[in-house]
Amino acid sequence: MVDDEKIVSEDMGVQVEKNENMEMRSFGTVKRWATKRSLWMVHYCTGCGGIELAPLMTSRYDMERFGMHPMVTPRQSDVLLITGYVNIKTLKRIIRTYEQMPDPKYVIAFGSCPINGGPYWDSYATINHLDKYIPIDLYIAGCMPRPQSIVRAFEDLMDMIQDGTADGYMRYKKYYEPYKANQEKIFRKWW
């Protein structure tokens, strides 16, 4: 068992190195352009904001015009939407989902609640600052944000991907220890 784990982690190391090499070449620009044009998001509505995703995904505001589509599994997705407040029971699943997603991955937080608690600022069941536990690339103001705001956020995210400033997943690797320590303060046991 131990040997297996070693092999896996070594494999991952090789993978990371390869990616960095690819970034070094000018091929990176093309790759980023291609990434931003086909963002698939995880079909996971974690809070009340999921209700505004429905008009966005369907005919009235039609998200597929931007090359975005809900994907049923996290392993094929690029974007994780945190749609509203995060309960501690959900946070565990969010972290699991986030860690399952392949690089590059982006997180957009909806509404007031993930920023500073929102209406549930004094609730014992919801965390107030989501960015203590996972890195977030973009915040959207509003309760709920209107579909226009969400579309704007997607556009901004695409611009950020093109610039290379949407680096949440790299920050997660860099600050992995503090992130993990914060997560462990919340949960007594993992599963």
């Binding site: 009235r60 007031s112 500073n116 608690g117 973009l138 915040y139 103001a141 704007r152 556009e155 950020m160």
Partner: protein, 148 residues
């Protein structure tokens, strides 16, 4: 009021008829769909009119409004306080209770609603009468919709 209980194999294809219709998709961001007249968006505050009473801060169910000192408004008129509201949009739930209890009517809500940023600090600001928002999207115009 009963529905015929019979199915047909062609029922699913009836949707194809919709192909000839005009789409009802709102083509944002190319087309701007302005919000309604009563829409509760971000706040504006007439700093001259505001008397710093702090009613908004007390009624806020989310503890989002903090009164911050403004020394230049000190002793301007009797009964006014040198304080002005600072609003945290990481707390605000856009209920407009603060607008309802404002005795002078200086605190208002306007129709702009978009603020997207990667910095958390940008969600806390002191609303005043001119600058609705830090990002230039408060003009509902197609040209301004791209943040560049």
């Amino acid at each position: 009021m009963t529905i015929k209980r019979e199915g047909s194999l062609f029922s699913p294809f009836r949707a194809l008829k919709q192909l000839g219709k005009k789409p009802h998709t709102v083509q944002i961001p190319k087309v701007v769909k302005p919000p309604a007249e009563r829409y509760r968006g971000f706040h504006t505050n007439d700093l001259e009119k505001c008397i710093g009473c702090g009613n908004c801060s007390r009624i806020c169910p989310d503890n989002a409004i903090k009164m911050v000192p403004f020394p230049e408004y000190a002793k301007k008129e009797p009964g006014s306080m040198p304080l002005r509201p600072q609003i945290d949009y990481g707390r605000c739930c856009f209920c407009a209770l603060c607008v309802e209890v404002c005795p002078t009517g200086s605190l208002q809500m306007v129709k702009t609603f978009t603020h997207v940023d990667d910095k958390k600090e940008s969600f806390v600001f002191i609303p005043d009468s001119k600058v609705v928002h830090e990002t230039p999207d408060f003009v509902l115009d197609t040209k301004d919709l791209r943040r560049k």
